[in-house]
Subunit: 312 residues, 2 copies
């Protein structure tokens, strides 16, 4: 697996052809340092269930990571993030303009690699559809900023786009390198990936409010100040309407956000959110159970466990 | 032609499926108001030389305009432009975050429509390659900001990407709807489109320094203040090194920029730039001459004339 992921990194770097040397170096460094390559691993493991075209499988795994990286670069613009994985973000190094175009560039490279390794128009269309879904998730999150009446359904709709759709795409790409695939396998694999992505995002959002944190992390603090309300806060607002009142203050101080976070921690919200995450985890496991036994399945179990328990 | 372009607008709008109603409305309005649809017209006219698949031709024409619109949305973020075609830009209406994702969304829709109407993996790959070329042009322009030693070759390389590549892509898409096409036709069409794009951009950049302007337009003024040096200024700097010295001032006032512009107007730069534009125009006409006679060719001549003379 580690050897395959090393090849995935090499494919990404070999396919980057930015004329400007500085930007090329910065993007190369972003693609090779520190990322867990979780999504490419998913693509590779799904492909491994059957005899498959290995070179194409690794190329498609690189495709999904390029797409992920493009979205990260654009997310960092929006969040004005100074660092990503302990490195300066593209925006911090070169400014907003380069970051916008560098992200766009990686979208282009994504679709070029996708065409090259998928050998199918259908995969190009599917890739574009998943990207539309991801962006609908992001846009819907942005349009719900400061909406204290945001519902759990709004939230699940958002994360189904911004997070789970990329997991689904990773799994889908794995299935495209297998000839004459049983549609039942594809469906179970996709459902597994979707539910894994949903659980992953919910647990990530719960972690922001973890009990043992003395103070909220800076990103969580800023999210609340910027009107980004995730599942624990949404659930807590429904239980305790005073939180909505506290959120009405035009510019929230650190103390005010800490007070809100304490109300979230004292409510049933974390527990309810954990139950929702468990629901998605159970669903993911059920769909994984349906896949044929073997090494690939064992590793996927281990990967899911690691992914979901790491965050608790 | 007008009927075809009306259909192109309808295809773009029908394929826009942003969940948020406000953003959907804003993008629809951007896609339907005011644009000359020059690039889709190029696609359609190239396709019309032969019997072709008409529905796909119009779909592909919509694809190239969607791609163009996506790049405009991102350009407007970078330039902090308040208006585009007399309408508020997406950034002005919804903020930077929505503008980044809305542009990304249109890239995704571009590749979905491309897969749907091209029926070929090759077209998806080509589309991605042209987009990479466009972004290399944009990135190279940004990396040459404030570079007073920028060469004419740097400039032509930039506009070959940011402008001409999209014209080439428009022409390429027109050729994909014709079965068993003569490669010589494709090559002439592509060369025509490339040279048309080059001439178009150079004339646009000359217009910024037009003699009869009392004062420089605000975009030109800001370009110079932001370190974006186009062909007339590059040529004038080579002729008159004092301009380089004047540009060293960290923050240029309006008066200082006006002084620089007057030096450009007094130099041979405008004349030399016009000669370069004429060179590309001549090349474009030579390649157009090589295409089979008929109505499509006549309209392309008229379109080129209109495009290139409008700007003088």
């Amino acid at each position: 697996m580690q050897r395959d992921l090393k090849t995935v990194r090499a494919i990404m770097v070999d396919n980057l052809t930015v004329q400007d040397t500085e930007i090329q170096t910065a993007l190369t460094s972003m693609l090779t340092d520190g990322g867990k390559l979780l999504r490419p691993a998913l693509t590779i493991l799904i492909g491994r269930f059957f005899p498959h075209h290995h070179n194409d499988l690794l190329g498609l795994a690189a495709t999904v990571e390029l797409l992920h990286t493009a979205t990260l670069i654009h997310d960092d613009i929006i969040d004005d993030a100074p660092l990503r994985r302990h490195q300066k973000t593209i925006q911090t190094q070169f400014g907003k303009d380069v970051a916008v175009y560098a992200g766009d560039y990686l979208f282009a490279t994504t679709f070029r690699l996708l065409a090259y390794h998928s050998h199918s128009v259908e995969a190009g269309r599917k890739g574009a559809e998943y990207l539309e879904k991801i962006l609908n998730g992001e846009l819907s999150q942005r349009m719900n900023h400061f909406n204290t009446n945001i519902t759990v359904a709004d939230y699940t709709n958002q994360i189904a786009g911004k997070t789970a759709a990329l997991f689904e795409f990773a799994s889908y790409l794995g299935t495209t390198t297998v000839d004459n695939l049983d549609p039942a396998f594809s469906q179970s694999a996709q459902q597994f990936a979707y539910n894994l992505g949903m659980a992953f995002q919910i647990l990530d959002d719960i972690l922001d409010y973890a009990d043992d944190q003395e103070t909220l992390g800076k990103p969580t603090l800023e999210d609340i100040q910027n009107g980004v309300y995730s599942l624990p806060l949404i659930l807590a607002m429904q239980e305790e309407p005073t939180i909505k009142t506290l959120l009405q203050v035009p510019v929230l101080s650190t103390n005010q956000v800490t007070e809100i976070a304490q109300l979230v921690q004292q409510s049933q919200a974390i527990e309810t959110a954990m139950e929702m995450a468990s629901h998605y985890t159970d669903q993911a496991e059920d769909h994984l159970d349906a896949l044929p036994d073997g090494e690939a399945k064992d590793i996927l179990y281990a990967l899911s466990d690691q992914l979901l328990s790491r965050q608790r």
